[in-house]
């Protein structure tokens, strides 16, 4: 199994973390987003959208794409440990929390958006940073409101074992780190992030612990 991704990519992080939690071995292939490798013909033959991640199961199977679709595939094919609860309402809650990040926040801060704001809209760095910080913080505030109020919240977003929602939440906290967004006012988000990182599978999946990440930033 081959995971095409990039150290910094938060969508890649989601798949890496899910594979690590489920104990599935994968070979990672780096597609350097900072050098535009995702737009090359070689990679577009794997992923026509020119985005990471893609998961190649084997040579006979077309690569899978879209991180949340990949997570659902892994859940169906490697069910243990589960990353979704068993009951339909619980599953809806975990997916809902996940998609607050995966649909409504993360796609606003990815390289193609940052490029468009800079090169097509000619917005200066201060305005671009305001955009990145605004949407990154907003999603985490919405998560905090849900998580702090709802009885289904436990040590993790849903009960006491990690789910897809924790994978998405922790990725969004990395985004906050990237863009200097303080999350001190979000105690439940912070607590759950810390609970995630206390697990070896999450910790070794961190963007800044991947090959290619700048060593000066690793923590």
């Amino acid at each position: 199994m081959k995971l095409y991704g990039f150290w910094r990519s938060l969508a890649t992080y989601r798949v890496r973390a899910a594979l690590a939690l489920k104990g599935v071995d994968v070979q990672e292939v780096s597609i350097n987003l900072l050098k535009g490798a995702q737009h090359g013909e070689d990679y577009k033959a794997i992923n026509p959208q020119g985005v990471v991640p893609s998961l190649q199961i084997d040579a006979a199977t077309p690569p899978l794409y879209q991180s949340m679709a990949i997570l659902e595939y892994l859940e169906e094919t490697y069910p243990e440990p589960p990353l979704l609860p068993k009951d339909a309402l619980g599953r809806a809650r975990v997916r809902g929390l996940s998609l607050i990040v995966a649909c409504d926040a993360h796609p606003l801060i990815v390289p193609r958006i940052r490029d468009y704001l800079e090169k097509s809209m000619h917005l200066d760095e201060a305005m671009r940073n305001r955009w990145l910080q605004h949407w990154t913080l907003q999603a985490l505030q919405v998560l905090e409101t849900h998580l702090a109020a709802e009885r289904a919240t436990g040590r993790f977003c849903h009960g006491d074992t990690p789910t897809m929602a924790d994978i998405c939440l922790s990725g969004q906290v990395f985004a906050a780190d990237y863009f200097n967004v303080a999350i001190t006012a979000l105690p439940t988000v912070r607590r759950i992030f810390d609970a995630c990182m206390a697990l070896e599978a999450f910790d070794r999946s961190r963007p800044l612990k991947q090959p290619g990440a700048p060593q000066s930033l690793a923590h």
Copy 2:
């Protein structure tokens, strides 16, 4: 069952179409996004994110949120007719196609983004329209590339019965209509959109056929 939504909302359309395809009755409650009703305290008690749709199953159950999480819930609780194939790879393909729209395209054109581009970034209408058209078209081009090349494509996105991917594709074609994006160069997308609209469940779920939609635009 109550669906909080808005006639124009494409995420609401997804849930409305899924319910119609599955033959589930629902009462729709309009949250007027054009008047900012989604930001009111009443609605935020239902959906802290202040977005539509929300699906209230009954008075005892917290409302569900995020359209794709709601679609998965409906698939689990009203399995017939299925909106996902049975095999894990097919399910991954349908979810992947769906999320190209639901994660990477639609969240870029929703009211809160249009408001931010106008009121916080002070971009003029021409530049805002370029943004809306660019991301709307790009997702449909990616879908066309997948659908035209892949053998799993049938009368619909995946085989000969509609799935979540057709719901997402058709919503994105409505977005193209809203923003005057020509899709003449996307024959597979157009063909599948037409196949969807030939079904009564899709046709009566169209945004422009809902109460409140401007009659002059209905088609």
